[in-house]
């Protein structure tokens, strides 16, 4: 039991020193000292509660994905049938109940239609299921219903691209090391350390930035718009700024549902100033295809008005004085420089495929975080020192071993956390305290047991051997129960509980090693060299 061959000692010391050395970069960074860049630097991440910054939990509106898909399908079907030769006439079309259904005027062309729209569906998931289910009822009525697999895949795709858009927008803010991860089916967690203006981040992510250009339906009567009545094929869109109401003081406008242009075909968007009014505007540049479509729209509709719609609200509805051919345009709509810049960033990064809602927000000022970590470190230093003195005067030489194990334990925990890039949070510091407590307890158990065995009249070596052996059982049981608890907390807990559990798990592993294995090695070394006939304990 007390026999430690050389290879074992080399191994133990090597492991200890390597892991403890890995703590140095973290210690340097906490103390604010520079770490030589030539050396590897495994470093503990400081949680937002310590470093300051913003944590946002965003949730996507899943229903909207289905709605959007339905709209796209309608447009695709319409353009396919319109483009068919000879053209296929549609009777009426509806999107009720989450399904797209339409009737054909000429029921003899059912098979043509089936052939035309079949390529609009694709396989979804691993089961080989199509993403849309096409049915023909009553001879000439088509019903396209989305399959669950199709919806799931659509949401999945939407979330993937939402994460990308979020990343682009945050990068545009020029912050360092943001964390953006998908969580569950429809959530995104965003963590940005050391952010000075969390408000800007939120308004940037809260904006879907779906830009549309749609023709104004001039046949709609203002009083009807107020009452919510629109001509067929049109829809009512409210103004973003109610004070800029159209003629008649109506805070909304009727636009044609189809035949507009979407703002996703941009190559650039910049904040600029209107040369005439000197007001902040956003100037946009279309890509080839978008530019052509925009030129078509404007040349076919000179003297008419079109509405610039952002996220379902009308920014402005200017008249088309002449065709706009150059592929670039200007968006005005009571901006200030800040909101125009934000819109430009959002447009550049692309529209979010789905609205994101902030479900949870946590912002910690950088000063508070810095104060927390400073006082936390001081407290740990003072606490550990006082503890070391207490252990020293209680156990003498055995106390020295216990203290050395304690210091190495703290360093090793930091080192392991650094290697795995674990994030240290305030509850993590509590996990640290518990671990230190448990580690000290192991040595207390052992030393008390050795004392007891000496009182029973056993010889020195035998007492030490029995002390370690008998105490190990309780130490083992206590640590296993803590591991069980920590694993469950990690699996079922959230946020702070997880942070606590991680430190606890690492701490249990290192503390058993330092408090039991290392001290036993040191004690046995001393016993062999000094051969004491009595213990001061």
């Amino acid at each position: 039991m007390l026999d430690f061959p050389l290879w074992k000692r080399v191994w133990y010391w090597g492991l200890t020193l390597v892991l403890a050395a890995c703590a140095l970069p973290s210690l340097f960074s906490i103390a604010g000292l520079p770490w030589p860049s030539a050396l590897p630097d495994p470093r503990v991440n400081l949680g937002l509660d310590l470093a300051g910054g913003s944590h946002l939990l965003l949730e996507a509106n899943e229903a909207q994905v289905g709605q959007q898909r339905l709209e796209n399908m309608e447009e695709d079907v319409r353009s396919r049938l319109k483009g068919a030769d000879p053209r296929i006439e549609i009777g009426e079309m509806s999107r009720g109940g989450g399904k797209l259904s339409f009737t054909l005027k000429d029921s003899s062309r059912v098979d043509d239609v089936r052939e035309l729209i079949a390529p609009l569906t694709t396989g979804a998931g691993l089961s080989g299921q199509r993403d849309w289910d096409i049915q023909v009822v009553d001879g000439n009525r088509f019903v396209l219903s989305p399959t669950p697999e199709g919806i799931e895949q659509a949401i999945d795709n939407a979330m993937e691209s939402a994460v990308e858009v979020v990343r682009k927008r945050i990068d545009a803010l020029g912050t360092r090391e943001p964390t953006i991860i998908r969580q569950g089916d429809n959530r995104i967690v965003v963590q940005v350390p050391g952010l000075q203006d969390p408000q800007a981040l939120k308004s940037l992510l809260g904006q879907t930035a779906k830009l549309e250009f749609k023709l104004v339906d001039e046949t709609a009567v203002p009083s009807d718009i107020v009452a919510g009545i629109v001509p067929p094929g049109s829809e009512i869109v409210p103004f973003a700024d109610p004070t800029s109401a159209s003629a008649g003081g109506v805070p909304a406008i009727a636009v044609k549902r189809l035949g507009g242009i979407k703002g996703d075909q941009l190559t650039n968007a910049q904040q600029a100033f209107d040369p005439q009014t000197n007001e902040p505007v956003v100037s946009i540049t279309f890509n080839q295809q978008g530019g052509e479509r925009f030129a078509n729209l404007t040349s076919q509709n000179v003297k008419k008005r079109f509405a610039i719609i952002l996220d379902g609200k009308v920014l402005s509805a200017p008249s088309i004085n002449e065709p706009i051919m150059g592929g670039s345009a200007q968006i005005s709509g009571s901006f200030d420089v800040k909101s125009a810049t934000q819109l430009a960033i959002s447009l550049r990064s692309g529209a979010l495929p789905v609205d994101l809602k902030v479900m949870e927000e946590r912002t910690v000022g950088p000063d508070l975080g810095a104060d927390s970590i400073k006082s936390g470190m001081i407290a740990m230093l003072v606490g550990t020192t006082a503890l070391a003195v207490f252990i020293l005067i209680t156990y003498g030489r055995f106390g020295v071993y216990a203290n050395l194990a304690l210091v190495l334990n703290v360093l090793m925990i930091l080192g392991v956390m650094g290697i795995f890039g674990v994030t240290l949070t305030l509850p993590g510091i509590a996990g640290f305290v518990l671990t230190i407590g448990a580690a000290v307890d192991a040595n207390v158990l052992i030393n008390e047991r050795i004392r007891e065995e000496r009182h029973r009249g056993r010889r020195v070596v035998q007492s030490v051997e029995l002390g370690y052996k008998e105490a190990s059982r309780a130490i083992f049981d206590a640590n296993i129960t803590n591991v069980i608890a920590a694993v469950l907390m990690f699996v079922f807990g959230t946020g702070p509980i997880k942070g606590f559990a991680v430190v606890l798990m690492i701490g249990i592993a290192t503390s058993v090693f330092t408090a039991v294995t290392l001290t036993r090695m040191w004690v046995s070394g001393w016993l062999r060299k000094a051969r004491p006939s009595d213990l001061v304990l």
């Binding site: 207490f390 209680t394 207390v444 129960t481 807990g493």
Partner: protein, 329 residues
Amino acid sequence: MKLLKLVPDHTNIRFLKWRVPFYVISLLLMAASIGLVMTKGLNLGVDFVGGQMIRVTFERSAEAPVPELREQVAKLGFGEPIIQRYGQPNQISIRMKLPEGAEAESALSEKMASTITADIKRNHKDAKIDGVDSVSGKVSKELGWDAFRALGFAALAVAAYIWIRFEWQFGVGALFALVHDVTLTLGMFALTQMEFDLNIVAALLTLIGYSLNDTIVVYDRIRENMKKYRKMPMPELLDLSVNETLSRTIVTSLSILITLMALLILGPDVIFGFTAAIVLGIFVGTYSSVYMAAPVLIWLGVHSDSFVAKETEIDRQERLARERSSGIV
């Protein structure tokens, strides 16, 4: 070198003599805690009820102008704020319910936060916004459920492990001690109305871990002594075990208290409630290992021979055969 000895070598304190009165007191305290939690309720933070919390430090004031702030914030038309000190006297947290409709439109809660912070900054030049927490009702329900589940599963799994390693009575005893510790701590939070948030759940987990550690040390000694002294009556054996581990109990508790006191006095203000909960938990946990976890064993009928190997059918027939052949019958 003379070493510090807090506990004399051979103590023989009759701890278990007082087990009934202590049990009655503990049960009463538990009942009182549950009563407090039911009537006064826990001062649940935004983590568990949803809402918004803004933390402010008044850098050049000795004390935060709480009544004035309450009036100012209430005037903004978002409802009555709950304003509470945290840490230093010049640090406060303002808690608000989320405005109507904020569940659907998160911009509303952002507007509330920016209106309130702008108003405070305008009226108090030295106000520094330390942080804003906004938690929607949906997320807060999830956080609460997750915390509850993590606590519950951890406690049950740990009790099951002790059952496997010892005997079922020990598992029940440990679980009972855990429930006792958590209940009393919750009672303290209801009594003092300190804010109860997710960090406090981490504190509860810490004290569960600690208290369990203590219980296992005592149980381990009980198991050892049960094998050693098979004829000793249980109360006496428990007393012996507690006395033998007394020195360790005191030294360990003191060690942790030293570290915690440093954290309580010098540590971050944000986790004052958290540390206070653990300090209380250390006392409660140490006490419960001796007076809750141990006596339960007597009442659940643990006998000194519980750890003696049970006689199997083969053993019994062999014994009978032996007895027959030696003519005892």
